[in-house]
Amino acid sequence: MNNEEDNKEMKNLLKQVIAPAKDTELPRDLWPQMLRRLNEQPAAVVGVPWFDWALAAILGAVLILFPGSIPALLYHL
């Protein structure tokens, strides 16, 4: 059986159970909710990605474990 026939059969089966969404009309204006969200969480706060924190932690650990690397690091900066 090819993919197209396979998909068609599954489509027929699913359609007996799950209907395509018909009522997709937005029942109300969502701007008041949006405004509340904007007021709750100011977008100006800049988040630091987790991998930046991980890199900083690794660098800190290296500097503590190998203090001799500090001059080399400073030289390369």
Partner: protein, 175 residues
């Protein structure tokens, strides 16, 4: 200055205008994926929140509609990932009246369960391709993946469903 340029520059008035222009479209797209009106409303707000946060990365020469749809798809996918084992397909969006009466309620329940158990990324493409009959191109654009990958995911979703249903004793090729 154009609306999209004002939005990218952080003008809240421009954002409100874009929100009012596009909220219906984002909601309609989202409800087709998550199949729950309340959740779709929350995800519409979440989508625009993400849009607002990323406004500085938006290219005003680009297509706002496509960008919004992609963000909405990601928000819906995140929801499907986190709610996979918690939610079932709501009754009001399932085919009860128009479906085949020969399909007994137990069989319906098993099929719905098998569909709900699909991993989120497969459920997303299967919902859009097999139930909503959205074109592969539109799905690919919205999900930010290639058309070939959409086809692969639909194929795998069908295979997973077939396997699960056959283990439950449900015949797939029932006409």
């Amino acid at each position: 200055m154009e609306l999209l340029e004002r939005f990218a520059a952080g003008d809240l008035g421009a954002f409100e205008e874009l929100f009012r222009q596009h909220q219906k479209e984002v909601y309609a797209w989202t409800v087709r994926i998550v199949r729950d009106r309340g959740i779709a409303e929350d995800l519409t707000v979440e989508t625009f929140w993400r849009i607002y946060k990323s406004r500085s990365r938006f290219d005003p020469a680009g297509n706002f509609c496509s960008w919004a749809r992609r963000i909405a798809t990601n928000a819906a996918l995140d929801h499907l990932r986190h709610s996979r084992h918690e939610t079932q397909l709501p009754e009001d969006l399932t085919a009860t009246a128009g479906g085949d009466p020969a399909v007994c309620s137990e069989r319906r329940r098993q099929i719905k369960q098998a569909f709900s158990d699909l991993p989120a990324k497969y459920r997303l493409v299967a919902t859009l391709a097999l139930i909503e009959e959205e074109s592969y191109n539109n799905i690919a654009e919205a999900a930010g993946i290639s058309v070939a990958l959409v086809k692969v995911r639909v194929f795998r979703a069908v295979r997973m469903l077939r396997k699960k249903l056959s283990s439950l004793g449900v015949e797939v090729n029932a006409k």
